[in-house]
Point group: C2
Chain length 250, copies 2
Amino acid sequence: MGQAEVRVTAAILVIGDEILSGRTKDKNIGYIADHLTAIGIDLREVRVVADIEEEIVEAVNALRRRYSYVFTTGGIGPTHDDITADSIAKAFAVGIDHHPEVKQLLLESFQKRGIEPTDARMRMARIPHGADVVPNRMSVAPGFKLENVIVMAGIPNVMHVMLDAVTPSLKTGRKRLAVEIEILRGEGEIAELLGETQGEYPDVSMGSYPFNREARVFGTVLVLRSTEPDLLEAAVARLKERLTAKGIPF
Amino acid sequence: MGQAEVRVTAAILVIGDEILSGRTKDKNIGYIADHLTAIGIDLREVRVVADIEEEIVEAVNALRRRYSYVFTTGGIGPTHDDITADSIAKAFAVGIDHHPEVKQLLLESFQKRGIEPTDARMRMARIPHGADVVPNRMSVAPGFKLENVIVMAGIPNVMHVMLDAVTPSLKTGRKRLAVEIEILRGEGEIAELLGETQGEYPDVSMGSYPFNREARVFGTVLVLRSTEPDLLEAAVARLKERLTAKGIPF
């Protein structure tokens, strides 16, 4: 059971000086993490790098070889610091040029809005050779997918429509199911019994997350995850048995 | 001028399955980024990895060799999935044991609170050999600093007091100053003039960040950064000249 399942993994690469300086607080990592978990792709790593070509190239090449997919955000606008498309072309050692369809799309959109198609604006039509366009129904300039690397905008609502657009073309694995158990005790109180239960069910991942709400409400959320509903249910039952035996309400 | 300055760099390593699953939304990266920028340390890279020893070891070793400091968050509690301290010891190939002072601190705190000093709870006294303790005035169990790696809790308010505690011992570089200019135009409108100004002032970093507020308020923030106040001022003046020449208010 579950042996034949293909595990599909992913990494996120956030490209942006503004995240590293603290000026912009990233909201894309959490959003993409939720999305991938929901569709059955295991997010395994995240990196944030500066707007520096060699650092982007190195990160893309490390991550694309290690995971099924790499999702990048940021650096695909019209200004000189938008170097993602060129960096991806370099990482794959392919050429890059104005993509005929995208060029057309941008020209039409600029004309409709009475905007001049300057060289800077037309840079947004530059797509590495061999890439598929990821449509952007929010603001026209698209993302792209080159092999297993999906390149998206950094602005959250633009990234969202690109992620939606690319999702049907992604292969996905079995979804990991999760059960959460909240207790009003510290982690120290349940560390032993959780560790014992983990030992009995090595294939169910078990985590504990302390919380601290308002003034004096503190406790721990126990999270159990597995792709196997029966196994998960058994592990949850065993953990609850142990909590009950120790007189800990849940 | 500015040639003799020591550039101090840093990376953040977030350790946590719960960030990768999307269950917890990270708030530490942005906080640490702001703090480092304010004290004159350049944050250059961030990684998020799972609670897996070999992945933590690999990331720590890659980052500690590349940057002046590595700040880790997460994985230092009492449960079986808290493997950061052991992973750091492994990365440095040093031993790890109960630290006498920390052991004493924890025992006193547990006694005061009427809590049993179980093996699990006492795991929080395990500190790699050669590390300095980073005090935690929030919840006792400390972080630590081993060479250039600073290990902190994942819970934001606990991380904050650890970061404050370690800050006086950090070497810092010259602070990067920033000037922001907000315009109510899209990036396409200023891409050329910004690129030209960047060409004239290669040592001032210039970024542009589109925004989209409420219904129809959109625009771009231009951010110029440098450690040299005079150079920064000159670059800002030049950019404003160009904006004025193009009839763009700021």
